[in-house]
């Protein structure tokens, strides 16, 4: 056994080990604190690069249309199904709760306001975050690790304009439309679930449910989903285009896209609901 091996096996003395560990532990704490700030900083820089690319020609209309189809048309069945399920659940729960308090006549309004103002937007956002966020994050991450994004850039095409801006804009434009679809399915199935138990014509349901309703009650909650779209598209594109580490990195990007987009979407909802209540009383 050589002198180098003996030294390596024995390791440094305990006091030196403590000295080695302390800077390492300190650095770990610093990294843990600085990490989120660094992430937000990089996200901000990425957002600015996308905005700058999006507003300068040449515009990628063909890719935008393709993404509108990818985000909108292909998410529609899943969103509609989710909306329909939510409508049934709210119908069953609302009927039970309202019956206990002798307020069955409020059922149509309860269902309408619950679906359109609360559940429709958030369920649509979370479903799209899962489907579109994961898909976008994984697709762009795969392109990143196989140098396809570098190839786009080397072909004198701005990848922020072609890949990120089109996807983010598609999410912003499609989320409100998908929310309307989810709302419609939720109201239809909610009414149907109620009508199976007690006679309630659709005309009665609509008249009663929307009685006294104003645009302020329904449009802001629907269009706030455009902010959800921005969050989903931005985080998915950022995670994908900054991937490292091969297949593991692609998986991590897909997972992080969904988790972070869902988290920020829920947090944004808290802020947006308050904002809507103040600005659109």
């Amino acid at each position: 056994m050589s002198d180098r091996q003996v030294t390596a096996d024995a390791g440094p003395p305990a006091s030196e080990r403590e000295d080695l560990l302390m800077p390492s532990a300190f650095n770990s704490v610093i990294d843990m604190i600085a990490g989120p700030f660094e992430w937000f900083g990089n996200l901000g820089i990425f957002f600015w690069q996308v905005v700058r690319a999006a507003v300068t020609p040449p515009y990628e209309w063909r890719e935008l249309v393709r993404q509108l189809d990818e985000v909108g048309s292909k998410s529609l069945p899943l969103v509609a199904l989710a909306g329909a399920a939510v409508g049934v659940v709210i119908s069953l729960e609302a009927r039970y709760s309202l019956s206990r308090f002798g307020a069955k006549s409020l059922f149509p309004a309860t269902l309408v306001y619950s679906v359109v103002q609360v559940m429709g937007p958030i369920i649509t956002g979370l479903v799209v975050s899962g489907r579109v966020g994961a898909g976008m994050g994984a697709e762009l991450a795969s392109m990143k690790v196989t140098e396809q994004i570098d190839a786009i850039e080397a072909s004198a095409i701005n990848p922020f304009r072609l890949l990120a801006a089109t996807r983010i804009l598609a999410c912003i434009l499609m989320l409100p439309l998908l929310t309307l679809a989810a709302d419609l399915c939720g109201l239809l199935t909610g009414w149907f679930a109620q009508a199976m138990v007690e006679p309630l014509s659709f005309h009665q349901f609509i008249e009663s449910g929307f009685k006294g309703a104003t645009f302020n009650a329904f449009l802001p909650p629907t269009f706030k989903t455009a902010v959800y779209g921005l969050i989903i598209g931005l985080i998915a594109c950022f995670q994908g285009m900054h991937t490292r580490g091969g297949a593991e990195g692609v998986g991590r990007a897909a997972t992080n896209s969904v988790v972070l987009a869902s988290l920020f979407l829920i947090l944004a909802d808290v802020v947006l609901v308050k904002f809507i209540l103040v600005v659109f009383p």
């Binding site: 690069q49 690319a53 300068t56 040449p58 795969s142 392109m143 196989t146 140098e147 396809q148 570098d150 190839a151 850039e153 080397a154 072909s155 004198a156 095409i157 701005n158 922020f160």
Partner: protein
């Protein structure tokens, strides 16, 4: 080997022995963490000239190409294309320079959701919008025929071999008729006949289109065939630069060992 330089009317451009210097790399340094990949690389390429960059694996040859096309930024030093320093340019400004350049990646980097023909058409669709669809199709067929891939138009990249992907990548790099061509291992994975065809293509481009090329390669035979000058890198520095005969006559031990093992 000596060269005469004079500054032309265009700021930053220079002529070397009467030819325009299109790529000028000056004292480039690049590190990734504690790994110092390039430590003071300087070289230049003139129009109509092919330079081969040789060296052991991991000496920064591919990094050098990435710095020249601006995919990475150097830690220090400068890269000038047609006299224009890439430092401080925006992405769109660099894009205006990249239009005149073609880049072949080491692993081809084909767009895996597009067919072979669509891959080659991609730059044309974005930068040659004045061309009609049929003109673009004709140009794509012509390019793929030049690299011997005209029978695989509708295949996906995953359906063809690595060598075939490399040839499609070369066709895509030539789509916009670049003035400067950067090739990262163009003959890697190709059989000798295909390698010869690629070499002939590079020579034709050099002779007929005065295209400047920088070729990173391990294939010494290919380098000797196509290159006017060769640069041998070791530990991030240029050990020797000149014609093949200069390398053969060199007394530098690393050079002699490299030629002996190739």
């Amino acid at each position: 080997m000596t060269a005469t330089y004079d500054i032309s009317a265009k700021q930053g451009e220079a002529k070397e022995d009467g030819r325009l210097r299109v790529v000028a790399v000056d004292n480039l340094h690049k590190s990734f963490g504690s790994n110092h990949v390039l430590e003071g690389i300087s070289l230049s390429v003139c129009s109509g000239e092919t330079m081969a960059v040789l060296g052991r694996s991991g000496t920064g040859k591919s990094v050098l190409l990435r710095l020249i096309i601006g995919l990475d930024k150097p830690d220090s030093g400068s890269v000038c294309i047609h006299g224009q320093d890439l430092a401080g340019l925006t992405l769109d400004q660099i894009g205006a320079i990249r239009i005149k350049m073609g880049f072949l990646f080491q692993h081809a980097a084909l767009y895996d959701s597009l067919t072979v023909a669509e891959n080659v058409a991609f730059p044309l669709q974005h930068h040659r919008r004045e061309m009609s669809r049929s003109e673009q199709s004709d140009r794509v067929r012509q390019l793929l025929a030049e690299v011997g891939m005209d029978g695989n138009l509708d295949k996906m990249p995953s359906d063809i071999s690595g060598g075939m992907q490399k040839r499609v990548g070369l066709a895509r790099a030539l789509a916009l008729e670049p003035e400067i061509l950067l090739l990262d291992e163009p003959t890697a994975g190709l059989d000798p006949i295909s390698s010869g065809e690629i070499n002939d293509l590079v020579l034709t481009l050099q002779r007929e289109h005065h295209m400047a090329s920088i070729v990173v390669t391990h294939d010494l035979h290919s380098a000797r065939t196509i290159a006017n000058r060769l640069a041998l890198l070791d530990e991030g520095r240029v050990v020797i630069e000149g014609k093949f005969e200069d390398l053969e006559q060199s007394d530098i031990p690393f050079v002699r060992e490299f030629l002996k093992q190739s």
